[in-house]
Assembly symmetry: C2
Homo-oligomer: 231 residues x 2
């Protein structure tokens, strides 16, 4: 039986939890199924993240031309670095055209949107960027994760774990997904209950400031994309 490879895309300034949450879930299925996980990047060299460590992907884009599935992580600035890379975007466009599914976590969906992959589809992203999806022809949906055809998108950062468990069941079976949940001892107990949404306005302003300051530099060669993310 041939293996089904799920490629996780690595690029500068990703939020590592976006990557690691679903990767840890799906990697746990390797012993239980024909699924295999891999990370892909431009080069097999250290890539900066938004945490104080760097990540070295396992393979180059060229080495994984036709993955079975693709997951794109996000970050505050990471997705814009992804959009600025012609090599990444070229690979993603080609790979998405043959993949059985394309997924994203957090603002990774903006990268899919920039490629036109969300046009006419329901999708989600980190709460702070949700309205932006409409500028790319998508229907923004507030959900922990959203499936539409062969595209699955998760909400912000930690939502990738929930999405990956749902995806795990779809790709294998619920029993295997529950084994992954057991391995990760995933029975969350947020100590302060649900999210305090009243804090979102000041945070949005602070995050918007960082993006507004950095974006013209990161997307200097992509004016049409820069315009889409203008305030």
């Amino acid at each position: 039986m041939p293996e089904r490879t799920i490629a996780f895309v690595v690029f500068p300034e990703i939020t590592p939890l976006d990557l690691v949450g679903p990767l840890q879930v799906l990697q746990a299925l390797e012993g239980l199924s024909d699924l295999r996980t891999v990370t892909v990047g431009e080069r097999i060299e250290p890539v900066a993240t938004d945490l104080p460590f760097r990540i070295v992907p396992a393979r180059t884009f060229d080495e994984v031309p036709e993955p079975y599935g693709i997951i794109v992580p996000g970050g505050l600035l990471g997705p814009f670095h992804a959009m600025a890379s012609d090599r990444l975007m070229g690979w993603l466009k080609r790979a998405a055209s043959t993949a059985s599914f394309v997924g994203s976590v957090c603002t990774g969906s903006l990268v899919l949107a920039a490629l036109g992959l969300l046009e006419g589809k329901k999708a989600t992203t980190h709460w702070s960027f949700l309205p932006h999806l409409a500028r790319f022809g998508a229907t923004p949906v507030k959900g922990r994760w959203v499936e539409d055809g062969n595209v699955i998108t998760a909400a912000g950062v930690s939502a990738g774990i929930d999405m990956a468990l749902a995806l795990a069941a779809r790709l294998t079976n619920e029993s295997a997904a529950k084994t992954a949940q057991l391995i990760l001892e995933y029975e969350p107990q947020p100590p302060f209950g649900p999210i305090a949404w009243e804090g979102s306005a000041p945070l949005l302003q602070a995050m918007g400031g960082v993006v507004a300051q950095q974006l013209p530099t990161i997307l200097r060669e992509k004016p049409e994309l820069l315009a889409k993310f203008a305030p």
Copy 2:
């Protein structure tokens, strides 16, 4: 006001979610407090993990001799690689003696136990290794996270996120912790509900097989520790 540095320890074969969950939470506090996060390892070079990517820590042990706090991640084999490293264990012992708190995620608590840091204390770990803590004079407690004096230990893998939010509130205030929760959009919705504990027996056997096979090699120079982890 001097900064308070929290050092996250990197060593071979860690489970990245153990590291990244709490690091992503505590790093979110950097703009809101005097807390700073860093990763430390033997060398600033790529280190293998149990996922298909490597991690490059930001600093060497020597560069961060007296952190304010320490967090030790776990893994199936990672903690034994940590115990086998005299440089890591020497640094951890010295750093723990001056730190305000020492924490662990998953089987990272076994590393603390091996140093005698859990003697007479209540502590937790990944469900699969919970009974082992008693062999080091600790009282095993099944909890999402367990605090005893200046030691805080989390259950398996994903529990590090919950522990870090509780820790964030203790180190700063509840409002800052809730901002971190909002940034991470942490409002979990495990798609299949609570953990299916009935799957633990076969999983324990499979994991035990891996450990039994690898441990004599990893701990070949630490016979007294090897004996503590014998079946």
